[in-house]
Amino acid sequence: MKQENNKAHKFGMVIDLDKCTGCGSCMVSCMSENNVPFKEDESNKKDSITWMRVYKLTNGKSFPDTEIVYMPRPCQHCGGKGDHGHSPCVSVCPATATDYGYDTGIVSQIYTRCFGCRYCMGACPYHARYFNWWDPEWPEGMENYLSPNVQPRMRGVVEKCSFCYHRYQLAREKAYFEERDDIEENEYQTACTTACPAGAIVFGDLNNPEHQVTQIVKPDPHPDPKNHDVVGKSRNPKVFRLLERLGTNPKVYYLSEREWVRKAGDNYRDGEWDKIKNHHGATESTHG
């Protein structure tokens, strides 16, 4: 397909779990950036809308060998099997209310098109999609802080992280205005990225070798010889993706020095981990 700027982007992020302190800045920054509502009781996490959610993982060892790591989880913007753009959620939406932007690799969600069948939520193993069980309400006057760049959602539709797409729209608009073909790395950064006080999140274009995220992740363009559904596996031994083996091909990568953390990123049968933990991408694949 022909785009205004011919080379397609593939926006993604890598989150350094060793830097992450679980402080919650990313969650709040996301909520206030994207007009996410709040209600009286948000302690039931199964109906609490947090596009960016920070999970708390433990190594399961007992005192005093216990370890904790915090794992921020935005929408993973899956590329689907073979990274062809058939994300688990996009392929199932009956009303085309969510699509895969081949120009950005970002999975959209259109609130006025969604009629709330929630099939996409069932299909998403990351629980990154949230349903508006209630009409949003803001205390008197507080609606004055709502941003015009993101549409507030009505009851009965699904919403999720958009990688702050409106920031991309605005950055592109500026580029057009200045008659540039494309935007700079720092012109488009998500709200969670810029907010993180620890600088644990790095966001950019995985197709652009100049970008920091690409240099950290070193994504392998070839399908994983052990599982052809998997594309873009990281060649950095410290980097992994959530549930990579399902072939969802997320664009969100995680970085950790700790082995137990990397293991927690996916499911492995007994003893399986030790066999494949050192397998990173096709080019470095050591096992047949």
């Binding site: 022909k2 120009d103 959209s108 259109i110 609130y111 760049n149 729209q169 608009e173 500026k174 057009y176």
Partner: protein
Amino acid sequence: MSELENKTENGSTESAGECASGETKDDKGLGLGVIFFIVAFVVCFLSGTLLFPKLLYSKKEQPFNFDHELHVSEAGDCDACHSYRDDGTFTGIPKLATCLDCHTDEPLGETEDEAIFAEEYVANEKEVPWLVYSRQPDCVFFSHAAHTIKAGNDCKTCHGPIAESTSSRPYEENRLTGYSRDIWGKNIFGIKKHSWDRMKMDDCAECHKKETGHQGYCFQCHK
């Protein structure tokens, strides 16, 4: 419009003729049936075509008349007032401040509109509550820069020959959807004579397909 009126006349005369001849010819009421048919048909068709739009759209007058033609001749092209900000966003309808580049609370001309503007708004530093003909729904992201600077369209393509207008027409709002009539079809039959007659998603898609080879992904125009 006028054609339609003619039609109605013809229609009614025909029916009258039918009526006259029908009476003598036929008393079984078949003719009467035909007459009733035609009358009912014409009445319903006309009310559906002429009356219905009046009911469907509510008319709102602008705060006061605005003479685009005059301003274009005085101030220059569209972008003299409808300009871009440094971040590439579009100002749309100018704020009072922009007007004050030329205007003062001393009326520039002696039209009563100018007077209203000077007294009610400039004097009280009140923004003019213009009604925006081309306001898109809140789910839409539209970049003027992309369509003009990048794609090189002129304003007329979407906004029509508004620059030549000497007075502001009333703003028509669809009672059902709450959207401006300019967006959702000027022509009640949905016939599109000019590119600016309608600006629904399909119209965007049509042009995008033609110009970029692709009708675009959701997020290209949605937020």
